[in-house]
């Protein structure tokens, strides 16, 4: 069954053919991407995932933004939105922001690492297939770029009212978006599934 693929959007069967590097094959009926030749991306994806992990920690631990008005200062971390909403009683909102802004990106990075680190060094850990599946489930819920735009909009909204300073957490946050976007676009699931297959059983019942 390895020589044919089905379109994700319209189910039409296509024969798998070799592609020049960097190109992708599209469905002849609906234009959806069938598969691509991403080249050797494992190292790049792994490196960007590791960088993302470090940046995520820095972005959350160090001060994010300061709000100064009339001598009073309000410092905040990346997670301050979640804690404030929870304190105000808006638990569902806190959950939504917490998941899309912090938890989903963190789990996404961890799943990529759990799959790619062993794959790179030839180890075999339990749950690698599960991690690979979870990457595709978590991707739509990691919304760091939207968070960034939210930061920009808040900046504009508040700049008339007060002094806003960006802390080291926010710089790490911007870099995190760059590395995560790179890692996710380098994450070539079909390639990694083939590598997982080749390494042997272990994950199959």
């Amino acid at each position: 069954m390895g020589d044919i693929v089905a379109c994700h959007d319209c189910d039409l069967i296509h024969e798998r053919r070799p592609l020049p590097p960097g190109s992708s094959a599209r469905c002849s009926r609906c234009g959806g991407v069938l598969y691509r030749n991403a080249g050797e991306v494992l190292d790049r994806c792994l490196a960007l995932s590791l960088a993302s992990l470090l940046l995520l920690i820095v972005a959350n631990v160090f001060p994010f933004m300061d709000f100064r008005i009339g001598g009073m200062v309000q410092e905040s971390l990346m997670s301050s939105g979640v804690t404030t909403l929870h304190q105000e009683g808006f638990d569902l909102l806190a959950l939504a922001v917490g998941i899309t802004g912090i938890l989903a990106p963190a789990l996404l990075i961890l799943c990529m690492l759990w799959l790619l680190l062993p794959l790179r060094f030839g180890w075999r850990l339990p749950g690698m297939a599960l991690s690979c599946r979870w990457v595709s489930h978590l991707e739509p819920w990691s919304m760091l770029e939207v968070y960034l735009l939210g930061v920009i909009v808040s900046f504009v909204k508040l700049s008339g009212m007060a002094d806003l300073t960006l802390g080291p957490g926010s710089f790490a946050f911007v870099m995190l978006i760059v590395t995560m976007t790179g890692a996710v676009s380098a994450f070539d699931a079909p390639q990694f599934w083939r590598l997982l297959d080749r390494r042997g059983e272990g994950d199959r019942a």
């Binding site: 069967i13 905040s76 909009v153 199959r204």
Partner: protein
Amino acid sequence: MSDTAASRGLARCHDCGLLSHEPSLSPRDSAHCPRCHAVLHLRKPSSLARTWSLLIAAYIMYIPANVLPVSTIVSFGKAQDDTIISGVIELFHMGSPEVALLLAFASIAVPSLKLLMMTWLVMSAQFGWVWRPRDRTVVYRVVEAIGRWSMLDIFVISLLAALVRLDALATIQAGRGAVAFCAVVVLTMFAAMSFDPRLMWDHLDAAPQHPNPSTRTEEPA
């Protein structure tokens, strides 16, 4: 009859893409992908029913999302409630038309378009329309891609609430409208995820004589 995986009795694993023989179409049996163990389905289970219910729930939440205030600004004892629309108008008056336009797009245009487009797509699958399936598939991809940007206002509110906490001087609080709006965003995202675009194409084969789209093979991009 188009050469689809379903016509050959093959199910495409939604997690790893592997094609396997689907032993039965009974909803009770669950076959698993031999490679990644995900549950296999020929089509997303109860796709139309789930999408309809999520859309209806989103429509219901859409009303309080726009009627109830999403944020409250308290400064020097004076409280000002803002709905999504009044917030946008406020930004125009404040002299930031670009940001106002951005928020209008993300918080008003995108959610409404998502609701309308998804409703149109589900109807097309439900009633077996044959009108331009390729364009409808493109619309589906666009809806999937832009959905997340509606979360913009929620992030803004959470940041403002966290930053502006200076008691009597100035305080910004979230409002109940924000919860409803967040629900609309999440529900429409789930609705897009539960919709199976392949259903729109299945009807083409069932429909009476209809000229097929060109079957020329695409060159790699």
